[in-house]
Symmetry: none
Subunit: 186 residues, 4 copies
């Protein structure tokens, strides 16, 4: 039922869709939308939450299925790329609405980065204590890089998803490989 809203939002943005349209596309009436979600903002957040849940699941599954860190990283990247294809607009709204969704946006970013940081922490062969700030910053960088390359790929349908993943791997893998061994900050 929230699927229709999610599709519309991701296609035309938060302000590009009216509650009337969502109601029509959902096959229910507007007051029902309000009965269930309370407001347009909350409905949007429900869509975000749903998308976020799927994203996490898929990344986690892709990562935990592989034993080698390199394969795990590549798997996670590919899962993310597949996903980002659909949710570009939704996320840009979430992070760019100028105050309206700041709280939710921060929460999502935190959680997303938390997942990445956790994965980094679970790398085999740590020879030093992982530094929390370092892992956090890296996680955010990874996510930003992944989002950017996903966007880049959108404009280049001729580039396969595997090749896109390789571009990203070329940047991230050296970092991941060296991370357990030596501190990266001067």
């Amino acid at each position: 039922m929230v699927a229709a809203a999610e599709r519309l939002f991701s296609e035309r943005g938060y302000h590009g869709v009216s509650m009337d349209e969502i109601a029509a596309a959902s096959g229910i009436s507007k007051p029902m939308l309000y009965e269930y979600f309370g407001s347009k903002e909350k409905l949007f957040l429900a869509c975000v939450e749903r998308a976020r849940g799927r994203l996490f699941e898929e990344i986690a599954r892709a990562v935990r299925g592989r034993d080698e860190p390199e394969q795990a990283l590549r798997g996670g990247i590919e899962a993310f790329l597949v996903f980002a294809d659909q949710q570009r607009t939704t996320w840009a709204v979430l992070f760019g609405e100028g105050g309206t969704f700041d709280e939710a946006a921060a929460a999502i970013r935190s959680e997303q980065a938390g997942l990445i940081a956790q994965l980094l922490r679970e790398l085999p062969g740590w020879e030093r204590d992982p530094d929390a700030e370092e892992l956090d910053a890296l996680a955010h960088i990874f996510v930003g890089a992944a989002e950017a390359i996903a966007l880049w790929a959108l404009d280049r349908p001729e580039v396969t998803i595997e090749r896109v993943a390789e571009h990203l791997m070329a940047v991230l893998w050296p970092v991941v490989r060296e991370l357990p061994r030596k501190r990266m900050l001067a």
Copy 2:
């Protein structure tokens, strides 16, 4: 005159600002805004263009002022971080409006990545022919990573901008250093 609009947009987003407010903040009347810009969309694009110009200038100046590639990279990163502090919302709107600004967004991304790619091309000591797609993809990754770390830094006022730059350097510098020497894709 467009400065007021730029400030408002970057603070509260495209839909968070009305033409009335912009007119009031600019000290001119609404019909004048329409005389000069034609529509709200075009006014917004003018703001984006102006911001883009400044960003390019500042990054270019920061980069070209240093001889060592490592210092140049760091300088560019810092210039970007300073800038991103103010334009976060504007850019998210630009890239997330669901169709409205897609053309302009693509143009900006292209140009921005073009600048980075050009800088990479100008690295000293290339031992091979630079691959256009590779440079382009890297450039986008760099920009995405920089945007992400900038956002991360916004929530952590206790982290100095130099330290933020170092986190990013830790990821980007190895790539830049090795880039002229060997192809990164398998």
Copy 3:
């Protein structure tokens, strides 16, 4: 069961309360409200009727309990003041809804004034035939004066209800005392 509705209406006015709220506060479901009362208007009228009944009872009891007219008047005034404390909003709605409740409002006013007029008629020592119009007009004046002083008292919690009653007595008692003896109109 209608008690909940009466409380809500008297607190927030006719339009300030929704049928949803009344149903929730009553512990029954909305369709039951409609089964029992038919419409919001009829439910409101039922509340008014209930309140009116209590008011009459209480005034009548207060008045008939005393033998001396002065004590009876004071008793009635105090009973009214206590009551008006709670029903202010309800009554204002009843009399001010612009057509919706005019019929019921007129009926209530009539009956209320009829009670007062009857009490005046029962004063001891009439030395002339009571004039119907005169009694009716006086009754309305008494009610209006009582409502006004009740409202005045609401804003002044430091004034005791006895003192409020005395203010009103100072105006009404001379009239009541002289009424049976001589015609008041020129």
Copy 4:
């Protein structure tokens, strides 16, 4: 321009009139109403204010034109009665909206009673210091009595306005006449 709104409100109550209707009746468009008044509540308050101003003027003129207190009182009463004929609904809304207009209602009541109290204070021949609370309470009683008899008169077109005024005089004049001479509270 606010006249149309005042008429509609006084005929059908606050909730009985929509902004659409007011705009249509005023010959202007809805956004203009909002430009001028900001909200429906504020528009309603503007109507009340306008009516209040007229009421005060008319009462003051009627009262100050006569030298004898008895004539002054009668004049004020008649002015009020004429006025109340039109504003019944408006005022009932003002005083019965359950919180929305409480502040304005209190202000109006205060001012209205203040005017009456001042007139009482200006009675000739005070033989004691006027007691503020007493005057205030009396003023409110007077207003309430006047409103009630005005309402009563509405249902009885056969009763002339002069006769209505006499009914009220019969209650109020003895009080006014004795007021300067002796304290009325025990």
